[in-house]
Amino acid sequence: MYYNSFIKTLIVGLVCVGFSYTNYASANEVEADLVVQLDDPHIQIGSNFFGEELLIFGAFNSGDLSKSDIIIKVRGTSKSISVREKVKKYGIWVNSDDTIIDNVPSYYAIYSNRNIQRITAQDFLKENQIGLNYLKFISNEKNQTPSIYEEIIKKNKEEGIFIEKYTGVRIVGDKLFRASVQLPKDINEGSYDVTIYFFDDQKLVDRDTSRVFVNKTLAGKYIYTQANERPLLYGIICVVIAWIAGLSVAGLSRAR
């Protein structure tokens, strides 16, 4: 684990040096305003997955460093969730009928170098759904949904599925940035959109969009697929395993 992150830091360091070198070498002919590199666009969840960091680094072409800002948005696929309120009935807490909320990201992270409210105008944040407060959920019910939305955000924040980190982007030197985005251990499989916004004096200069894929590998994925695609066969195999285990234990205790 430590070894792993050490290697990553080393790679980032080397790449940064490389970037700086090329930038110095061609200081006057940098074409793009924003160059981004993802450490690993394919993330595998093995059976020992306990969270991963997605390393993002790049270079921007800044006029005035004190006015340059970077916001990174990582968003998983949207899903629908069912929310039930617990109500006390006959002395115990039971679930009420559910409200369906659509367009909830399976993962959502905002990393920036300072408070996003100060980076750019609220309208822009709203329009691009940057920031937990600007996520656009869709619900069929109008009543009391704001409190449900707050609850969804709170719960997901606790589980590390929604992240808002205003100190998450580190500006290195005068044109480099890096961020290590935390992917929690219970992350869903699927594609994740990574958008990086580069602002100069509150104005968007450039944006870069790329995609990261998270796959469940090895036994985990195989078991999941079998259980869902061939449920009957899967169930029978589970039982056969139990029979073999039980019989071999019985055999062992007889041998003694």
């Binding site: 219970d186 009957l232 589970c238 139990a242 205790s253």
Partner: protein
């Protein structure tokens, strides 16, 4: 050491799960109980979704019951005919239970139902074992001779129609009571992920008046097939059997059961029995508190598929 459970979709600590399987295995080895009624709540407390805990525990019980039944079978302490009648009821009960499970799952009340069933069940067996344990300690102290029960006494059970002769049990009784018991146990197995021995064994002794020495073997024989069926039905209907979790629990359980059997021969069961009662009541109390106390999260959020 963490491992990702593909069906439960959580990462768990392998050592803790193995330890839980082992601890429950020790108890089952010591007391001859299946342990499903302790394992499922423990899995839920640990954070396994209740529906996965129930289905996977049924799968584990298949293994532990098979290893248990072989010893009884060798001693010819299984009434296969009675076991099969109980099993017919068990099959009916399993299908009913799975239907009920699916229904409750659809209206979002399955977790509540599982908790309620456990509070009720653990509360009653816990108190029974507790009281029995204390009584055993007291009667031993007073050096009383245990009363021998009159087995041949006739009750209402013996007046029902459809009577069949069960040679091994020395009974000539109606098939209605054993089938009814079987149905009840089948429902318990599919909703709670338990074998149901703790219900079936007393019912066989006190209601059917079967000889005590063949009761455990016969109930294990029924449990094997009922939990096998319940596992397959859960896998087929709900996709909630986590084979990875089951294997961890099975291996922990095997080690634990060996230790438990070893300890069981050396320790005084009467005194330990009421400790088991205390333990069961403690788990029951925790479940009850979670039902009654102000929940930490007032909203229950789940994915819609």
């Amino acid at each position: 050491m963490y491992i990702y459970l593909p069906i439960a979709e959580v990462s768990v600590n392998l050592i803790i799960l193995f330890g839980m399987g082992g601890a429950v295995g020790i108890l089952s080895g010591m007391f001859g109980v299946g342990g499903g009624f302790l394992m499922t709540p423990l899995l839920i407390f640990y954070g396994i979704p209740p529906i996965v805990a129930v289905a996977t525990e049924a799968n584990q019980i298949v293994a532990s019951s098979i290893s248990g039944v072989v010893a009884h079978w060798r001693r010819r302490a299984v009434d296969f005919k009675m076991g099969t009648v109980l099993l017919i009821g068990g099959v009916i009960g399993s299908f009913l239970g799975i239907e009920l499970f699916a229904l409750l799952k659809n209206i979002g009340q399955i977790d509540l139902m599982i908790s309620l069933a456990y509070v009720l069940l653990l509360g009653s067996i816990g108190s029974l074992i507790f009281v029995e344990g204390i009584r055993a300690i007291i009667s031993k102290r007073n050096d009383k001779i245990a009363q021998i029960r009159k087995r041949k006494e006739r009750t209402w059970v013996h007046t029902l129609p459809f009577r069949v002769r069960f040679k091994k049990s020395g009974l000539y009784i109606s098939v209605i009571p054993p089938i009814t018991i079987g149905i009840f146990v089948g429902i318990l197995a599919s909703i709670m992920g338990v074998g149901g021995g703790f219900v079936m064994v007393p019912a066989m002794i006190y209601l059917l008046r079967m000889p005590t020495n063949i009761v455990i073997g016969t109930s294990l024989y029924q449990i094997i097939f009922v939990t096998s069926l319940v596992t397959i039905l859960h896998a087929y209907e709900n996709q909630t059997v986590d084979v990875m979790l089951a294997i961890i629990l099975m291996s922990g359980g095997v080690v634990g059961a060996q230790i438990g059997a070893f300890l069981g021969h050396r320790l005084k069961a009467e005194q330990l029995r009421f400790l088991l009662g205390v333990l069961i009541l403690a788990v029951c109390a925790k479940m009850l508190i979670e039902l009654v106390a102000e929940p930490q999260n007032i909203y229950v959020i789940t994915d819609v598929l």
